[in-house]
């Protein structure tokens, strides 16, 4: 019962935060509501016993990405942009497209989701973090390394793009 309550509470926070994040006028407000939405998601992760992801969500997403966003918002001085029109002129057409997509998603989900039964779980001897570590550095060692290269590219890319011309 408590679970149900928390689910709906976090779900509400997630959805409402996301909805406000795409509709608020000021980009700063959008960012703040997105943070709220991400926090809600973090709560949902916690409810599903994904403690590591819960932490990662808060530290990486909320702490890292959103701060980056806020920095950029300040840098490009969006408050001037906030006084302009926020929606595209032809947004109703876009809305129609989105509704069709939503209808498609609803159609997909209305049949219910039939999943194969989980295999008998191995002894959950270790905690969530330890399990993740085992899988991450075992089965997914290669993706882990690729991710590091990916972040290298991101750093290089961000520097190349954001660097001022007179710096060199």
């Amino acid at each position: 019962m408590l679970d149900t309550f928390f689910f709906y509470a976090f779900a509400l926070l997630t959805v409402a935060g996301a909805a406000l994040a795409v509709t608020m006028r000021s980009a700063v407000h959008c960012a703040v509501w997105l943070i709220a939405s991400l926090l809600g998601t973090a709560g949902l992760f916690l409810m599903q016993q994904a403690e590591f992801l819960f932490a990662a969500q808060i530290v990486l997403y909320v702490g890292g990405i959103m701060v980056l966003f806020l920095f950029v918002i300040m840098l490009v001085n969006l408050e001037a942009a906030a006084r302009e029109r926020q929606m595209r002129k032809r947004w109703p057409i876009a809305l129609a497209g989105v509704l069709l997509l939503a209808a498609g998603l609803a159609r997909s989900l209305e049949e219910g989701i039939r999943l194969p039964a989980p295999r008998p779980a191995p002894e959950a001897a270790a905690g969530n973090v330890q399990q993740i570590a085992t899988v991450l550095f075992g089965e997914y060692l290669l993706p882990f390394e690729v991710a590091s290269v990916l972040l290298l590219v991101a750093i290089v890319g961000a520097i190349v793009m954001a660097q001022r011309e007179d710096a060199r």
Partner: protein
């Protein structure tokens, strides 16, 4: 109240996906469009964690970690491009960027 099932989570994820797509399609502000893409990735993560719970292993969670890494990388590069654009054009409105067409 119904008990919360996997279905609820997937439906929640689908709602977030729709919200994200809506944001991408309608907002003029490029930064907000970027945020909308983050919302879609968040929807993906909810899916992954939910299925991971169902199968009682952590593969999905590991996948979600990688999705977060990708989101970080995309945000960094995207914002970098945005700043370069802003320096040249003094705008972050999507529909004012239309030199290339036809």
């Amino acid at each position: 109240m119904h008990p919360v099932t996997l279905y609820h989570y997937v439906a929640l994820s689908a709602i977030l996906l729709v919200i994200g797509v809506f944001g991408v399609l309608t907002r003029r502000n490029l930064v907000v469009i970027l945020m909308s893409i983050e919302i879609i990735l968040n929807a993906v993560n909810i899916n992954l964690v939910t299925f991971s719970r169902h199968y009682q292993h952590v593969t999905g969670q590991v996948f979600a970690i990688f999705i977060i890494a990708v989101a970080v990388a995309e945000a960094a590069v995207g914002l970098g491009i945005l700043i370069a654009l802003f320096r040249n054009q003094e705008t972050v409105q999507a529909d004012e960027v239309n030199l290339l067409k036809w």
